[in-house]
């Protein structure tokens, strides 16, 4: 029983990271209606930014966090401007291939700059573990869960209560109509990318704090799995991303413990295929009807 609870908690730790990444995915996908394949790689860049600031510039941790958020946001906006904006009117296939290209570009630039060997992430947090009876929860897991939960609430409020959030919902619903109502579609999408990428910076900090080692390919697999999580929860839905992320993390950890570590990837991707085929709208997503 203790073993099972401990597995669930490890799953929660993994799932909270997925949830954090999935929040960024769902933001961008929900509003810009494009799959930003490079999202996972922005996380990798954010993690390297922290490493450079802490180890090479010898700055304190909070500066590193700020720099990482800034770098990710600027990177996200730059990518959007240079690569995605000219393709607003293009078929989805074109945008998707470009996004894959951007993802590869970031990985390979990082490979050239930082080399292929993994680098250690600085220990920027030192939370004591929480012990409840025989069960112990890592401090970092709790911190990730709290931060993810807080971001989820803030994002929901932002989308539902602010003027900019309203503009985002309008753009998501119908770009042309939103434009006719005086909303600057391009500016709204740029801001979406800035926020989504800033969230990637948060994800990079907690990923680094949990898993310590960073490689140029660090971001791609968690990125794809987090996308799975976002779809699982219902793409475009912010609470859905959190729910999907945590569920996926728990499923992955359970399959690692009770089935086999070797098969866990196949199981997670199997879940993805089943969810997409059986219920593409996800757990909390809205049904979209196709117009003729």
């Amino acid at each position: 029983m203790i073993h099972f609870v401990q597995t669930l908690i490890s799953g929660l730790s993994l799932g909270s990271i997925y949830a954090l990444i999935a929040l960024g995915y769902t933001m961008v996908y929900g509003i810009a209606k494009m799959l930003n394949f490079a999202h996972g790689d922005i996380i990798m860049v954010g993690a390297y930014a922290v490493i450079v600031v802490v180890f090479q510039l010898n700055m304190p941790a909070f500066v590193a966090i700020l720099v990482s958020i800034l770098v990710c946001a600027v990177l996200g906006v730059t990518i959007e401007r240079l690569a995605y904006k000219p393709l607003r009117q293009s078929p989805p296939l074109t945008v998707l291939i470009t996004a894959i290209g951007v993802s590869y570009l970031l990985q390979n630039v990082a490979l050239l700059v930082f080399g292929s060997e993994q680098k250690a992430f600085p220990q920027i947090f030192n939370f004591p573990p929480l012990n409840i009876g025989q069960v112990s929860i890592d401090g970092i897991t709790l911190a990730t869960l709290i931060v993810t939960g807080a971001i989820m609430v803030l994002l929901t409020l932002f989308i539902n209560k602010t003027k900019l959030g309203k503009a985002m919902r309008a753009v998501s619903e119908d770009k042309d109509a939103a434009g006719l109502m005086g909303i600057s579609t391009n500016r709204t999408i740029t801001i979406t990318f800035a926020i989504g990428s800033a969230l990637a910076a948060f994800a990079s900090i907690f990923y680094g704090a949990t898993y310590v080692y960073i490689k140029p390919t660090t971001g791609s697999m968690p990125g794809i799995k987090a996308f799975t999580a976002a779809v699982f929860g219902g793409i475009g839905s912010i609470p859905g991303a959190m729910l999907g992320g945590i569920l996926l993390g728990v499923i992955e950890q359970l399959s690692k413990t009770y089935v086999s570590t070797l098969w866990s990837d196949a199981i997670v991707f199997g879940v993805l295929v089943i969810v997409l085929v059986v219920k593409p709208t996800g757990l909390l997503g809205k049904q979209i009807n196709e117009k003729v």
Partner: protein, 351 residues
Amino acid sequence: MGKKEKERKASAVGARLNDKPQFSKNLLTILMVAVIYAVVSYLVYSGSASRQLSNMLISISVYIILAVSLNLVVGLLGELSLGHAGFMSVGLFSGCLFSIATVDMMPIALRLPLAMLVGGLVAAIFGLLIGLPALRLKGDYLAIVTLACGEIIKNVITNLDFTGGALGLDTSGIYSKTKTLLPFAIILVFITTIVMMNLKNSKHGRAIMAIRDNRIAAESTGINITYFKLTVFIISAFFAGAAGVLYGHSFANVKPAAFDYNMSIEILVIVVLGGMGSVRGSIIAAILLQVLPEALREFSDYRMLAYSVLLIVIMLLNASPKFAELKGRWSIGNLIRHLRKNKAQEVAKHE
């Protein structure tokens, strides 16, 4: 629409269907492939080909088949498949296992084609399995599902015992030299090219492109979407699997981890560079992208970087109307048309 205009349109459509530019284009592609293979076969069998070249020939052929078959999904059906390496891998392992089992029973001239058939059929079954979700999904979701299926295939093959596991399958028993494999490679490339080109210009091909351009409109004209989508995935997987078997015979050991997402992307780069939907383009791009990295070995660190830049730049250029105009003006087709026109004028002058 006036009656006259209707008639004019009808006759224009008739003219487009009646004349034979498609045919001559296909002939050009076949000729191009034939000439290239005639030259390399001469070089290989006369012994004057360098070791480097003859080592590359099989992998170039394999990549041509992979790219041409992926082009069916990406170019014709307009869906992104990121699991092509998975099909190749399934075909490779089943075909090579068959080949290993029958190595003492049959000569290679019978064993390899049969193994290709086995590999292709097994891959086709997987193509059908992956094609099924494709019936409900499109775009981003379908791309992610194919990616996931590719990763599942890799994961399963790595964890099975009879495929050699993570250490890879020992194919030293069926390993063959380029000189032995080249005729099979040439035949397979020809079959793939001809099937794809004929499919593209057939009623089926037009139905598939109609689905790509507007699914709902295609459905309402009576095109059976289920049938065509599944056909595309099955045919594409079949050839990828057959190519995998050929690939497996050119190594003494194959590791399942090599056929991952990155390899699928590499094939996609070839298709995009060659032009989506263009069989000839895929062939040229496959040759280029295999020969160039070999020739520019000292820059090998930048290979993947260059691929990623290529993907982005080609997509951006294709989307830009200015580039489309330039391309139209400077294309080879336009040049030929221009020359023909000049010639016709000269002939007219003489008369």
